[in-house]
């Protein structure tokens, strides 16, 4: 299976605390990769390192993105990685609070509003509202919609279901598997494996900032 992106010996430090102690991992193209681990195990740091939100203290990030040979993107800015096709959904609230919902959905993603509403039609009545006035779950839907309906090849999703009603999570999972079928690559950072219909291809288990197992799901 072709590789989409990989980390080589990645170390991430927050001040004196080292969050990743030399992580190696490869994300297969057109597949679902799940990062499992407890809070504090380093899942979020892996996603942040891939998206360029935190710099690496050492190690490298290599981007294939469908090409044969990798390109080293360790020093590339976040926004440039985003333009390469790497999208991150952070675990915290990820909307622009003083922009309208419609502006949130279409900002730079190249999508039109109707496209962005496919996944969450319930947002349509909220389009003119300022995103900061939405409920926590609705803001999460806006953020998800922005990431999932955008053009990115690689979707990095931190705690997908956070704050969402179960029925919505089910819908999102269905949308994810459709995206993967269409050739996109997905990395999920989760507490547990996602249910059907999401077909998980690789599971990396993290513990205290290192990958302790890489396996196919059982």
């Amino acid at each position: 299976m072709a590789v989409e992106i990989e980390l080589r010996g990645a170390r991430v430090r927050y001040g004196p605390l080292e969050a990743l102690h030399g992580v190696d991992l490869a994300v297969p193209s057109g597949a679902v990769t799940v990062l499992l681990g407890r809070n504090g195990s380093g899942r979020t740091s892996v996603l942040h390192a891939l998206a360029g939100v935190v710099p690496l203290a050492s190690g490298s990030v290599r981007w294939y993105g469908g090409a044969e040979r990798p390109r080293e993107i360790t020093a590339l800015d976040t926004y440039r990685r985003s333009r390469l096709g790497i999208a991150l959904l952070p675990a915290e609230r990820a909307v622009f609070p003083s922009l309208s919902v419609a502006e949130n959905l279409t900002l730079l993603s190249g999508t039109s509003v109707p496209e962005a509403l496919e996944l969450f039609p319930e947002l349509s009545r909220l389009l003119p509202r300022t995103a900061g006035t939405l409920s926590g779950g609705e803001q999460r839907m806006v953020a998800l919609s922005r990431v999932l309906t955008g053009p990115a090849r690689l979707l990095l999703l931190d705690e997908l279901g956070l704050g969402l009603a179960e029925e919505v999570v089910t819908r999102v999972h269905a949308a994810l598997s459709a995206l993967v079928d269409a050739g996109r690559t997905v990395v999920l950072a989760e507490q547990s494996l996602p249910p059907e219909p999401v077909r998980v291809d690789v599971v990396y288990e993290l513990r205290r900032g290192t990958v302790v197992s890489a396996r196919e799901p059982v």
Binding site: G15, N39, V53, R140
Partner: protein, 928 residues
């Protein structure tokens, strides 16, 4: 001052200074004159608005950039004889934007990347202001120049045409290009904008360059009408702040309309000549119309500025939580004491100068209390200091009606007593404001006090600030000042360390969380401002007595801003820092020339983005590992892989029975201690609760009961109104109709903190902890405030809660350093320490890992078994199944379905509500 500049502009236009009679007979010309002032104010006002919209910063230095550009234009055209066709583009399109670009690249970008709030950016702007004014002073001298080249015919219509073109251009960019949205996105949430592919650095550079261009344009257009000197334009732009504020920092049309209205009104006011005191009052009003308008605007308008208040600023403003005294803190105190004792050995005139140090230290200490401890931005402390001096002088001079002349010490004490309640002037508005809105409010009040009181001869005649007897000897007086300062420092220290200090810290870090923990936030704010006003007045009175005269310029609002900046750079929450700042301010000016201290503070303010949180004091508190505070703050979340975490994990593992995670043996269950302070559980009832926002009804006639000894769940689709209902129950929001009852008691009209004290505890969907407090103090706030425990008892209660949640090892860590899951436990601990009868938990399981969830389940169950009433908002059906004995499904503002226990919920099938009983808003039966 700038008021004089505006008046000068007016008179210049009309051509005759003091020609009152002629003016009165020519209303049309008058309107024309008003238009001139109005057009100038409109240009500088929309400059502020445009810059704010482009950068998210209310740029106090806008006028300074305008002034420097005007000087540059004069330099190139008049001195160097460049052709205008070259000089004008060079100055307006290259020089001014380059200043903006450089400011962004070197100062503001850094601040915004780490999420600095309005306070830090304001202080940085002030640094720019001071340095640019200082540079102009050095390069071109203080003498006003009358030969600034004019670019436009001298008519208000020409200025208005520039205003119209600028406004139209800005509106067009905002509407028809994606750039406008990108700018707003970057201002709103810089990191997210980068994730969405926006080159935030470029966008903010362009924003700053454009903001500086508008400033330069303002300078070039207005300078010919004024005489060009280093102070006039910068102060003029500050003066026109009213225009920007009335426009809500947003609407260009409103800014222009307000500016023109104020300009015309100001000139019309000169028309009336009723004579006597009315005339002098009218004159005072006319000369200070823009300040009065600013005051009225900040007191009467709602002041909601996009984005600016939402950002939390505590993390940057103050350093890490107070920890047990370190050797370095001790060294700091020794240095401070030595510095303060040195003046006893000084020569007479040096000692005279040094008299200001302890007095100024007291004023700065007042900023530490209000802003550093309480988190309330207060830019008006100079006003209170001046009032202290003024009242002391009036009381000592026997000028207050019905009161005899008091000896100086008595007069000083009485002045403090008089000034303290005036703290309510800003305290009241502060109840509803924070961030930039509060900064503007306090600045407006301070400026109004200065203009309408200190600058009025009638108010300051007969002021006596002589020192007689022993106090007349400077050495003795200095000793007295030191004793007063020492007393104040001890008082502030006690305030900081005690129950009140924890409450202040909680309010500073998370207002809603503090209210939920039982802190009476409005009262505490008032208290902070009253104490601040008293301290400032004490310092101001001593300043006046030291100099033995009342000098209105010693309490100028701009000087007050520099004092504020000094406190912030030295560490807003550091009392020692305030004393050192006072010594620096006084020492530099006395040792060199006046103004050097301001330049030093300005230079330090520009470095704020490179300092750790808490300014220089934060720098001193850093552990010896390089770069610690900086990185942690920049990362915003030290959440991953904290070594301590694993320790917590191990503790939790020892406590919790687990559904055997892969590869790890399940630890033996440990017997659960139940040592929690607790009162009898009570039934919480909601009757017909309705809450509307504008047109939408978020909660629509909901009736439900939360019985004791059970766990009740509230679930439903996103946006159904669950969190709003929660807020109505806890008191964070008021229902439009309906009732909330605890036991038999009606809580509907009680504020949140009062409900907390009656036994209603809650947590938040977005975790509400106090990052600047330690874990133990976070929990202790709940015990002290809601459960009203004594200090010793609250410490014991907090320890018990820490043990119960397995947090003991983390007790002395600042909450800011901990990961999400742990913070949920800390927040829960704070709620438990409140000794609740009812516990409301908003998505308690969100973001918890398996172990933490298991701990939570076990804990909640044992709490319910102990008789507590629990209500959970939760999406996780497994968790609900496992815990809840009653479930309310909420949809579109109504509770539509109530299940009793697990079987019914499972029977409800894939989606809640299908094939289930509906009972819209009906009375709920529990445990049936």
């Amino acid at each position: 001052m700038a008021a004089a500049q505006l008046t000068a502009l007016l008179h210049q236009e009309v051509g005759l200074e003091g020609a009152g009679l002629q003016l009165a007979s020519l209303p049309l010309d008058l309107a024309q004159a008003g238009l001139t002032v109005g057009a100038a104010a409109a240009l500088s006002g929309i400059g502020l608005v445009v810059c704010y919209r482009a950068t998210g910063v209310l740029n106090l230095a806008q006028g300074a950039i305008a002034m420097v550009t005007a000087y540059a234009l004069r330099q190139t055209i008049v001195v160097w004889h460049w052709p205008r066709a070259l000089a004008i583009p060079a100055c307006l399109l290259v020089f001014a934007p380059a200043i903006g670009w450089a400011l962004d690249a070197t100062v503001f970008r850094r601040l915004q990347r780490r999420g600095a709030g309005p306070v830090e950016t304001l202080v940085a702007c002030l640094g720019v202001f001071v340095l640019l004014v200082g540079a102009a002073f050095l390069l071109w001298g203080p003498t006003p120049l009358a030969d600034a080249p004019s670019l436009l015919p001298s008519s208000p219509w020409a200025v208005l045409a520039v205003v119209a073109v600028l406004a139209a251009g800005v509106a067009a960019v905002g509407r028809w290009t994606p750039f406008g949205t990108q700018v707003r996105a970057v201002v709103d949430n810089r990191r997210l904008a980068e994730l969405a592919g926006v080159d935030a650095d470029r966008v903010s550079s362009v924003g700053w360059a454009f903001g500086a261009f508008t400033a330069g344009l303002t300078g070039a257009v207005l300078a010919p009408g004024l005489r060009l000197d280093p102070y006039g334009l910068p102060l003029l732009v500050m003066e026109t702040m009213a225009v920007a504020v009335i426009a809500g920092l947003r609407s260009l049309t409103a800014a222009v309309a307000a500016a023109l209205a104020l300009g015309v009104l100001q000139s019309e006011l000169t028309q009336f000549h009723p004579g006597g005191w009315t005339q002098s009052l009218l004159q005072a009003v006319g000369a200070n119309l823009f300040v009065l308008a600013l005051l009225a605007a900040v007191l009467l308008l709602p002041l909601r500025f996009a984005g600016s208040e939402r950002r939390a600023y505590h993390a940057v403003l103050t350093g890490p939580a107070t920890k047990p005294a370190s050797s370095r803190a001790f060294a700091g105190r020794v240095a401070c004491a030595t510095l303060l004792l040195m003046p006893f050995a000084f020569r007479a005139d040096d000692l005279r100068a040094a008299l200001q140090v302890p007095a100024l230290a007291l004023v700065l200490l007042s900023i530490v209390v209000v802003t550093g401890y309480g988190g309330q931005v207060s830019l008006g402390q100079a006003g209170y200091a001046g009032l202290g001096a003024l009242f002391t002088g009036l009381l000592a001079g026997g000028r207050l009606p019905g009161l005899p002349a008091f000896p100086a010490p008595v007069a000083l004490l009485l002045a403090v007593v008089l000034a303290a309640p005036l703290g309510l002037l800003v305290g009241w508005p502060a109840i509803r404001r924070r961030g930039l809105a509060l900064a503007l409010t306090t600045f407006a009040v301070g400026t109004a006090i200065s203009r309408l009181v200190f600058q009025q001869p009638a108010a300051t005649t007969g002021v006596v600030l002589d020192r007689v007897g022993l106090l007349g000897q400077d050495r003795f007086f200095y000793g007295v000042e030191l004793a007063v300062l020492a007393g104040a420092l001890l008082l502030v220290r006690a305030l900081r360390r005690g129950r009140l200090g924890r409450a202040l810290g909680a309010m500073r870090d998370h207002e809603a969380g503090a209210a939920a923990a039982g802190v009476d936030v409005p009262r505490l704010k008032l208290l902070a401002f009253v104490v601040g006003a008293a301290l400032a007045a004490l310092g101001g009175g001593l300043l006046g007595l030291g100099g033995q005269a009342f000098d209105p310029n010693a309490f100028d609002p701009v000087l007050g801003l520099i004092w504020f900046a000094a406190v912030v750079v030295f560490g807003a929450d550091s009392a020692v820092g305030a004393v050192l700042a006072a010594a620096l301010l006084v020492g530099l000016d006395a040792g060199t020339v006046a103004g050097v201290s301001a330049a030093a503070v300005g230079a330090l303010a520009l470095l704020l983005g490179r300092m750790p949180p808490g300014g220089l004091a934060g720098l001193a508190r850093l552990p010896r590992l390089p770069g610690r505070g900086l990185r942690a703050a920049a990362a915003g979340e030290a959440d991953e892989g904290a070594v301590r975490l694993t320790e917590l994990g191990r503790q939790l593992a020892a406590r919790v029975r687990l559904p055997a995670p892969a590869g790890e043996p399940a630890p033996a269950p440990s017997p659960r201690p139940a040592p929690l302070p607790r009162r009898e559980g009570e039934r919480l009832t909601a009757r017909n609760l309705t809450r509307r926002f504008g047109g939408a009804t978020a909660v629509d006639g909901v009736t439900l009961a939360v019985p004791p000894g059970r766990i009740t769940a509230l679930t439903g689709p996103n946006g159904a109104g669950k969190s709003t209902l929660f807020d109505c129950l806890s008191g964070a929001g008021r229902p439009d109709s309906g009732q909330v009852l605890l036991g038999g008691r009606d809580l509907t009209r009680l504020p949140e903190h009062a409900r907390a004290r009656l036994g209603l505890a809650r947590t938040f969907q977005q975790i509400a902890v106090f990052p600047g407090l330690t874990v133990a103090d976070n929990i202790r706030v709940g015990a002290e405030q809601a459960a009203r425990r004594s200090s010793r008892q609250s410490a014991e209660d907090a320890e018990r809660v820490l043990r119960l949640l397995g947090l003991t090892a983390l007790r002395d860590h600042a909450a800011a350093e901990l990961p999400t899951g742990t913070l949920r436990l800390v927040e829960l601990g704070r709620a438990l320490a409140a000794e609740p009868a009812v516990l409301l938990l908003d998505e308690p399981g969100a973001g918890l890992d398996r172990r933490e969830t298991a701990l939570l389940v076990e804990l909640l169950r044992s709490l319910a078994d102990g008789g507590l009433a629990l209500l959970l908002v939760e999406h996780d059906r497994e968790l609900i199944d496992e815990l809840a004995s009653g479930v309310h499904v909420m949809s579109a503002g109504r509770t539509q379905f109530q299940a009793h226990g697990q079987l019914q919920l499972r029977a409800a099938g894939g989606r809640f509500g299908e094939g289930a009983r509906f009972g819209e808003g009906g009375e709920v039966r529990h445990g049936g």
